[in-house]
Symmetry: D2
Subunit: 353 residues, 4 copies
Amino acid sequence: MSSTFGRLFRVTTFGESHGPGVGVVVDGMPPGVRVELGAIQHELDRRRPGQSAITTQRQEADRVELLSGVYEDVSLGTPIAMLVRNTDAKSKDYDTLKAVFRPGHADFGYQEKYGVRDHRGGGRSSGRETVGRVAAGALAKAALAGVGVHVVGGTVKVGSVAAMDRDWSLVESNPVRCPDADAALLMQALIEKVRDEKDSVGGVVELVARGVPAGWGDPTMDKLDAAIASAMLSIPATKGVEIGGGFGMVELRGSLTNDVFDGEQYASNFSGGIAGGISNGNEIVVRVAVRPATSIGKPQTMAKAGGGTETVAIEGRHDPCICPRVVPVAEAMLALALADAWLHQRALRGREK
Amino acid sequence: MSSTFGRLFRVTTFGESHGPGVGVVVDGMPPGVRVELGAIQHELDRRRPGQSAITTQRQEADRVELLSGVYEDVSLGTPIAMLVRNTDAKSKDYDTLKAVFRPGHADFGYQEKYGVRDHRGGGRSSGRETVGRVAAGALAKAALAGVGVHVVGGTVKVGSVAAMDRDWSLVESNPVRCPDADAALLMQALIEKVRDEKDSVGGVVELVARGVPAGWGDPTMDKLDAAIASAMLSIPATKGVEIGGGFGMVELRGSLTNDVFDGEQYASNFSGGIAGGISNGNEIVVRVAVRPATSIGKPQTMAKAGGGTETVAIEGRHDPCICPRVVPVAEAMLALALADAWLHQRALRGREK
Amino acid sequence: MSSTFGRLFRVTTFGESHGPGVGVVVDGMPPGVRVELGAIQHELDRRRPGQSAITTQRQEADRVELLSGVYEDVSLGTPIAMLVRNTDAKSKDYDTLKAVFRPGHADFGYQEKYGVRDHRGGGRSSGRETVGRVAAGALAKAALAGVGVHVVGGTVKVGSVAAMDRDWSLVESNPVRCPDADAALLMQALIEKVRDEKDSVGGVVELVARGVPAGWGDPTMDKLDAAIASAMLSIPATKGVEIGGGFGMVELRGSLTNDVFDGEQYASNFSGGIAGGISNGNEIVVRVAVRPATSIGKPQTMAKAGGGTETVAIEGRHDPCICPRVVPVAEAMLALALADAWLHQRALRGREK
Amino acid sequence: MSSTFGRLFRVTTFGESHGPGVGVVVDGMPPGVRVELGAIQHELDRRRPGQSAITTQRQEADRVELLSGVYEDVSLGTPIAMLVRNTDAKSKDYDTLKAVFRPGHADFGYQEKYGVRDHRGGGRSSGRETVGRVAAGALAKAALAGVGVHVVGGTVKVGSVAAMDRDWSLVESNPVRCPDADAALLMQALIEKVRDEKDSVGGVVELVARGVPAGWGDPTMDKLDAAIASAMLSIPATKGVEIGGGFGMVELRGSLTNDVFDGEQYASNFSGGIAGGISNGNEIVVRVAVRPATSIGKPQTMAKAGGGTETVAIEGRHDPCICPRVVPVAEAMLALALADAWLHQRALRGREK
C-alpha cells in the first residue's frame, strides 16, 4: 500500500473504517505557521457524515487530536500527526458482507491484491480514509494562505443538472455545496428523489485556486496538472479530472483557446492556469467527475467469495450523491498538490517567489 | 525539474529540442527480458514527425542508440540508457521567439520558474521530450507482454467528429490512428481543413489495456487510476483524463453503473477496469483530452519579455492536430504506469500473481 | 523534516519528547503476517528508560497502542499506525534550557534550521523519537522471520573495554547487553564509575543478520550497505558505521580479505556478508560507533540564544552510556533496511527467492 | 536496480564497463549556474585510470559529452545528461571469467540477484560506474561554490601508514593524494611493494566540507550524516564511514567530546560538523574505510558457476590501492549529499540561508 501523497509536503494517511481510528502524519509542513485546531476541525466538520438531510445519517463526531509537531499553536517543522477515533462503527451491520464482493466497490480488488481484508465498512477502502486528507489539507491551506494562495470548491453538476453560475460565497449556504443558488435547489430535489429510490447519482466538483504565482509545477513528470490529476483520482469515487477547458475544449480551434496574454493579464483561461505543466499566473481551474455512489440500498447481485452469486440489499446509511462531501476532500487534495509544488519552487530558486 | 516517472519502473527523460539530443534512462526494467532494438525504433517511428500528410513536416530520423543495460539482446536489470540525436534542428527559425512568450505555450512559465530558458523550439517543453517516453514505453510493453498484458490506443475524437467503433486493428492503417475507418476519413478531412487555415484542433485519445489481472494499483495515494492520471497529464497538450465511464457517467444512477460481477465476468465496465484504485480484472479503459495544438501558423498577439505585445506569425512546421502523434506517447505512459504497478504487486505478494 | 525510512517498507515516525505522544506509521508491511502486540511491547520494553541501574531513571511505561492496519492479529497490508503516549514528561525541568544551546546536542542546529523549536526534553531531537523505530522494527522482524531472517545485536565495546566473545544468547542477561559475560562486568563497572562522575562514555554496538540469502540490496545507490549505513547514522548519538572488516581491514592485503568462496561456504567474512552492495549469503555484520552521551550532569559552558555563554549543570536523569538502549534501536533499523531490500528483491524477480 | 542518489538534486548513473558507454543524468541542478565543461573533465581526469604509476595502467581518455540541460554554458534547471564512451574495453580478457565468481567481487551476488549478468570487466559493478558520479559531483561542486561551500579530500591512511598532517593543498602534488608530504612517500612505497607482489592494500580517505552553514540535513531519517553515510558506502570498495571523532571517540568522555560552543566558535570538532543530523556550522569531517582492492593478480581459488572451484590468476591491469582514485569519487558523493541537503533547506525556509 502506498498512502503517502507529496514529495516535500508529505502526507501519509492511516486507518480502517471500523478500526480504532483514522488519521494522518504530515511531514513537511513548514515551521512557524500558526496552526488552529479549530480550523482543522472546521474542515472535518464539512466532511463528516450526518451534516445534512442529503448526506448519510451515520453519525461520527470526528474530533481531531493533535499528537505532535505543534508547540504553542505554531508548527515546528516536524511531523504533525493527527488522530480521529472511530466511534459510530456498527461492525455487526457488515457481517453479511464478509463473504461477498459489493459491486463497484474495491472488495474484490482488495481480496485479490492483499489476500486478506477488513470487510467491515469497506475497511481501508472506506471513504473514512479521507478524514486524514482533510485534516492535512487544512494545514496546507494555512501554509498557502501565508503566501496568498486560496482554494475554493463546490458541486457544479449533479446528474444532468449543471450550475450556470459560480458564486463561491454561496457554497456553504446550501447542502449540495453548489455555487449557484437556483441550481442548488434542483440538485437537492434530484438527490432526494434518488435517495428515496435507494439509488445514487453522480456529479462534478469544481475547484479554483487563486493567487498561485507563475512558476509552480515540475516538468516533465511532476507537472502541476499531473500532480493535481493524481491527487484528484486518488479520491474515492472519482473517475475523471480536467483542467481549464478540459474535454470540452477539444472541439475548438487553437486560435481561440491559446489564451492571449499581454504580459499582465490573460484574455481567457482555457489552460486553467497551467501551461506546459507550470502555473501561468491565471486562476487554477479543476473539475472532477464523481461517479454515482456505489453504496446503494437497492438489492444487487453480488459475487460470493466462494463462488456463485447472491442478491443482497446493503442495509445502512448511504450518501445518495457523494459530491457535497467530496468538495472538502478535493479542496484538501488540491491544497496538498499546490503546497508541494510551492515548496519545490522554493527549493529551485532559494526564495519565496 | 522532475523528469522521473515511476517508483520501481523508473524512467528519467532528458534533452532539449535543439540541444545535442534527447533520451531516457530506464532504471527498474526487470532482468532477463528480450530487448529488440527494432521494437523500440518501431515505436519511435510511430511518434516521429513527418510520418504523414497531417503531421508536421519537420523531418527527424530519430534513430535510437542503446547505451547500457542490455547485453546480448537481454535486459540486465541495470539502467537502460537510450539516446536519440537531434538532427533537423533549425535553431535560426526561433530567433524571433527569443524575447516573446508564445500564447498557450510554457514559455512564460519556464521563464518565471527557472529565470533562464532555451527558447529554441520550446527547449525542454518541446514535444521532443516525449521521444524518451516512447523509447521507455517500448521496454515496458516488452516486459508487460511477458505477463500477458497489452496496451492499444487510438484517436477516438477530432474536433466534434467521434469514432463510433473500436476496431484497434485499424489504427495503423489510417494517418489519424482512428479505430473507426469511416470516422477516420472525416477526421482527416477536418484536420486538413484546419491545417489549411493555419489553425489547429483538439481531440480525444483512448487507450485500452488488456490482460491486467485484478490486484494492481496501490491505494490510497498511488491508486492505479491516480498513477494513470498523472501519467496522462504529464504528456504535453493534455487537459483531461477519464477512466471508464468518466465524465459521462455522472448523469447515471449507481444501480446502472455498478458493473454487476458474477465472480468471473462483469456485465459492464463503467469502472474502466479499476475500482478503489485497484484493477478489477476488467479491461482498463482511459481517455485523454488533447487540446488544440498551441503552435499555429496564424498571426497571434504575444507578450514581449521586456513588456508590451507584438503580433507574430510563428513560421514553421506545425501539427494541426496532435492526436495521431499523442497515441504512441499515451500508450507508452500507460505501459509505464502499469509496469510500475505490476512490480509493486510483485513486491507485495512475492509472486507473479 | 524527513522522518520516513525505506521505499517499499516505509516507516514514518512522529512525536516530540514532551508532546502528547510519539509513534510511527508503517506503510508497506506485507499482508497476512501475524502481528503480536506482545512482541512489539517486548521490543519497546528493551528500549525504555528505567530498565536497569545503568540506564536513565526516567520512568515511562511506553505502552503501545495499535491504531490501524491489523485485523484479528493479522497485518492487512495497509498502514499500521502505533502510538505511545508520553507520561513522565517533566517539562518544567527544561525551563532553564529554553534559551541555551546544550553542547553536542542538536539545539543550535534545530534553531538555525527551523527558526522555532520545542526545547522541552530536546523536542523532536530527543531519543524518544526512537520509540517509533523500535515499534516498526518489531514488525519488520516478524515479517523477516517468515523468510528465515533474524537479527541479533549487542554492546561489544564500552570505552576501551571490548568484548572478546560473541555469545548472543547472553545479551539479555546483563544490563550492558554484552555478548561476553566477562567483558559485561568490566563494562558495567566502567559505566557506573562514569555515572558517578556525572559524565558519559561511548561504545560500539554490533549487529548480525542471519539467513539473508544472496541477492538483497540495490546497486548502485541503494546498495545494502549504503542503506544500512543510512539506517545506522540516522540513530541519535551514532558517529560511525562499518561492515565486516571495516576500518580494521584497511591495513590488510586483498589476498587475505577476499573471502574465498567454494560456491557453498566462505572461508572468512571480511565483506560482512555484502559484496558490491548485494548480500552474498554470508552473515551480515555491522558495527556502529556510539558517542559518549551528550547529556551529562557535569556543569558545562553553553551558548545563550541571545549571545554570550553561561555555565549550567543539566539536572535530570541521564544515560551514562547509551549503548544498552541503542541495541534494540539498531536492531530495529537493521531489520527495516533488510525488510526494504527484501521487498525490492521480490519486485525484481517476482518470487520469494 | 536503483541508480539514483538524492531527492531534490537527483543523480542517476548508467552504464556497464564494456558496453557502449557510462554516464549520468542530473535532474535538480539549479538553473543559472555556470557550467564549465573543463571543470567536469578535470574531475574525470582525477578519477581516470592510467594517471600515475600507482594506478591501473588501463587507458581510458574518458572524454565527457554534455547532452542536455546546459545552454550557452549556463544550467537551465533541466536534466543534465552526460556521456563518456567506453574505448579501452578489452572484452576478450574476460572470457575466462564468464563462468567463475571472483572472490570479494559482486559477481555471485549479481548472478543470484538478477539471474543474468554482463561479466565483462565487472559489468555494472565495475568501478567505471563512478564516472557518472564524478561528472555529477562536478556540477554539485559548482552549485555549492555559489553559496560558499567547498569540498576537499585526500588519502589519510594506506595500510598502516597514516598521515599526521592535513595540508589539503598538497593533495594533487603526489600520486597518493595524501595531504601529508612525508606520509605520501611512505604510502607510495608501500603501494609499489604491494603492486609488485600482485596484491592490494586498503586505506582511509578523509573529506572536509567548508562553509556549510548551520541548518542543513533533514532529521530524523535523512539526517545529514545518514545521507553522507549512504553516499559513501554506495562507493565501490568502501566498508566503513565515520563522522568527526568516529570510532576513536567511543573511548572518551562526554565532558571532553561535547564541543563547547560560545555561539560563534567551537572549541573542538568531535561532532564533525553535524549534531542531531543537522550541520552545526563547523567543518564537516568524514572518513571512509576503503578495503584492499579485490582485483589482484595473485592466483585465487574461485567458485565456478556450475559448481566446484578452480584457481585462476586474473590477468589485467589492477589498482594496488584504490584510495587515490576513490578521492575524487568520495568528494563527488559528499558534494551530492550536501547539494541535496542545501536544496531541502531552501524548500524549508524559502530563502537561501
